[in-house]
């Protein structure tokens, strides 16, 4: 039985045992349900083996929503523990594990796939392409992300969760202070998901640079595509640093190297340095596509073209450059001198300038627009003031001298939630509502959608504004409890109430999806928002090949001009369409990667070697495979097009 001891939870509690049972029952229910309804074949043919960017997008979306739920439950537990002084709900170890997984899940397994979901679904449609440049690589990206996320998520029932924070700083994350396999999970799961993300970056960069419709020059691309291009460039240049840092961390933990140890010439703070060389660009990878979504939504519902298109593009390019020049502001207190801190202080403040340009451009787009407050627009309008508060407190944190006061307090926690929730999460929810009809053929209920937006905003303000005050009063982040005499109690209770209101907001979104599936009208046009860009020019549901005829573009808002100025988008006749074949290899490779990661986490060397061989066999098979895709005949295209037109 010694062998199995390593899989035991080092620090168990009844809640974890209950979760184990719940996970087991859910898996049995899913497997039984699939068998009972005879859906295995459907699942395999239509989803697991698909290389269609739209379906991959939807799978990313489902994963992101599931992870949002998991990260949200973590958040509620954290706030419940802090709601009252000297609370006994969680002990220190559980609190550490929960805030660590909350951070990793929300950033890497919720926000990232949410962005990937919208990018996958929207970008090829927006540039008039039939798929991404490397469809099978895209499927592999998804499965690597998914398996990485699942590997990370089983940590709390098998072997123990990571507990060194989402930043996992050494020496705390080293073997000496983190004895359980938790941090191995962190290193390996993020590594697997990160490789997937890196491949997505390469894939979308190539897609956007090479596969635009004829006539769509770079400066005629829709804003979301521009923001995706810039974000993917950042991915390609930032993620390798994470890959290397994680590999070094893994070797420190499993092979006894001394990269980040405190003796034998190791340099523990080098981890923090490398982590943030990746970590700061990462926040721009998240926020730029969010900005792109807001740009689309604001110009659609202000019924105006986007103000300052060129300055929007240039500000994003400048942000992308700056994002690599500011990382040391995450550790101003680490011990560098005034000169180093001043340099990074100045670059950090400078990044507020292009961001400000974007805020003003949105305001000028709204100015004199015929604003229509739909749910996505409501999110966008709530975003502008809320995000600006986060931006201003960011500039406060950027001042390195003052940062000695703010560092590692709740003030910082309030700041980054203040940019990420209104910035990224609101954008993703707005994008979800905006693109829902294109994805699923019906609209989400507007009334429920607006309720959710208001609940989230009010809950957000109640949850995070008090943290600015307690932070300035000295409440440290990551402390699992505090005494009553500190006086933090009442404000933390307000935070907890805010968190609960946000939870209600998310419940309303889930109910909205359920309600709309049951009652929403399926009789909608392909362009229900009266939008401006190419993704609305094709049918709903979008046919496999996206566009029967490749559109010809000669303005920034090609679809709007085709509606209002009579430009002709589709000039050519139907021709046979070349499409990629589905493949099971990405999914199988993902499964092998999962087993590989699991073996690595526990140091099971024989399965590790076998799975490594399996991965290389998959790649070799791909190299020797002759797969030329398939053609959709003209008759078939005609048939589909007639049917879809009839459905309108």
């Amino acid at each position: 039985m010694d062998f199995f001891d390593r899989f035991a939870i080092p620090h168990p509690s009844p809640a974890i045992y209950a979760s184990m049972v719940a996970i087991g029952l859910t898996m049995i229910a899913v497997l039984a349900g699939l068998t009972y309804f005879k859906k295995w074949g459907y699942l395999w043919r239509e989803w697991l083996t698909t290389v269609d960017h739209k379906r991959i997008g939807i799978m990313y979306l489902i994963s992101a929503l599931l992870m949002l739920f998991r990260g949200g439950v973590d958040a509620i537990m954290l706030r419940a523990q802090l709601a009252t002084p000297d609370a006994k709900l969680l002990d220190a170890q559980h609190y550490n594990e929960i805030f660590s997984t909350h951070g990793v899940v929300m950033i890497l397994f919720m926000a990232m796939p949410f962005i990937m979901a919208l990018m996958n679904f929207v970008v090829p449609l927006q540039i008039g392409a039939r798929d991404v440049a490397f469809p099978r690589l895209n499927a592999l990206s998804f499965w690597l992300f998914f398996m990485g996320a699942m590997l990370f998520n089983i940590s709390f029932v098998i072997g123990g969760s990571p507990d060194a924070g989402w930043t996992s700083y050494f020496p705390l994350a080293g073997n000496e202070f983190s004895e359980s396999v938790g941090t191995n999970y962190y290193m390996i799961a993020i590594q697997i998901a990160g490789i997937g993300t890196l491949m997505t970056g390469i894939n979308f960069m190539t897609t956007i640079l090479k596969m635009r419709a004829p006539g769509m020059t770079l400066m005629k691309m829709p804003m979301f595509t521009w923001s995706s291009l810039v974000a993917n460039v950042i991915i390609v240049f930032a993620f390798p640093v994470l890959t290397v840092a994680l590999a070094m961390g893994t070797m420190d933990r499993l092979f006894g190297t001394n990269f980040f140890t405190t003796d034998n010439g190791g340099m523990d703070m080098l981890w923090a340095n490398l982590f943030w060389v990746w970590g700061h660009p990462e926040v721009y990878i998240l926020i730029l596509p969010a900005f792109g979504i807001y740009s689309e939504i604001i110009s659609t519902f202000a019924r105006r073209n986007l103000y300052g298109y060129k300055s929007m593009v240039f500000s994003m390019v400048i942000i992308a450059g700056y994002s690599f020049l500011v990382w040391a502001h995450h550790f101003f207190t680490m011990g560098q001198g005034a000169l180093t801190n001043s340099i990074f202080s100045i670059t950090t403040m400078a990044i507020a300038v292009p961001t400000g340009v974007k805020i003003f451009n949105w305001l000028f787009t709204l100015w004199k627009g015929k604003i229509e407050i739909t749910t996505p627009m409501l999110y966008a309008i709530l975003f502008i003031p809320l995000f600006t508060i986060g931006g201003v407190t960011g500039v406060m944190l950027a001042m390195s001298a003052a940062d000695y006061q703010y560092h590692n307090t709740m003030f910082l926690v309030a700041h980054f939630h203040n940019v990420i929730i209104p910035g990224v999460v609101f954008a993703m929810l707005a994008g979800l509502t905006y693109y829902w009809p294109k994805m699923f053929g019906f609209m989400l209920n507007e009334k429920l959608g607006k309720w959710a937006a208001w609940l989230l905003s009010i809950g957000f303000l109640l949850a995070f504004m008090p943290m600015y005050i307690t932070g300035l009063d000295g409440q440290a982040r990551r402390m699992y409890t505090y005494s009553e005499s500190t006086g933090y109690g009442p404000l933390n209770m307000v935070s907890f109430i805010g968190a609960l209101i946000m939870a209600v907001g998310f419940a309303v979104i889930v109910y909205n999806i359920y309600y709309s599936i049951r009652y929403a009208s399926r009789d909608i046009s392909a362009d229900p928002w009266d939008a401006r860009t190419l993704e609305w020019a094709t049918h709903t549901p979008v046919p496999e090949y996206n566009f029967a005829v490749v559109p010809q573009v000669n303005s920034i808002e090609a679809y709007w001009d085709s509606k209002k100025k009579g430009q002709v988008l589709f000039k050519d006749k139907y021709e046979k369409i070349h499409m990629p074949n589905s493949s099971g290899v990405p999914f199988i490779m993902g499964c092998i990667f999962f087993a590989w990661g699991f073996s690595f986490v526990f140091g099971l060397w024989v399965p590790l070697i076998l799975t490594t061989i399996g991965i290389f066999v998959c790649m070799a098979l791909r190299s020797f495979e002759k797969d030329h895709g398939h053609y959709i005949s003209v008759e078939e295209v005609e048939e589909t097009e007639t049917k879809l037109r009839g459905a309108k």
């Binding site: 090479k210 460039v233 240049f237 040391a328 560098q336 180093t340 801190n341």
Partner: protein, 94 residues
């Protein structure tokens, strides 16, 4: 005959051999650590550039602009990361 002879590639090959030989000197000669590292870094960067331009045809397709922009951007970020790290961890550290 002149059009058929790949002069550029042959020259490139000879040059890359020379670079390799120079890099090998670091092993065979008794250099100081600083000098050795300088020689290695300089020859490595030239070698990488040579491979990219001459043998991987970076400048010979219609994507020339995109390829070079990427290379220069990557170079910029690599240098910023290395020198920024040195600044944080060694030069600026008290």
């Amino acid at each position: 005959m002149k059009e058929l002879f790949p002069a550029k590639q042959v020259m490139g090959f000879v040059f890359s051999l020379i670079l390799t030989a120079v890099a090998l000197l670091v092993y065979f000669m008794d250099m100081s650590f600083e000098l050795g590292m300088t020689v290695l870094l300089v020859t490595a960067f030239i070698q990488a550039g040579l491979q990219l331009v001459v043998f991987m045809h970076a400048g010979e397709s219609e994507d020339k602009a995109a390829i070079y922009t990427n290379v220069y951007y990557g170079l910029f970020i690599a240098l910023v990361t290395i020198f920024g790290t040195l600044l944080c961890m060694i030069w600026g550290y008290i």
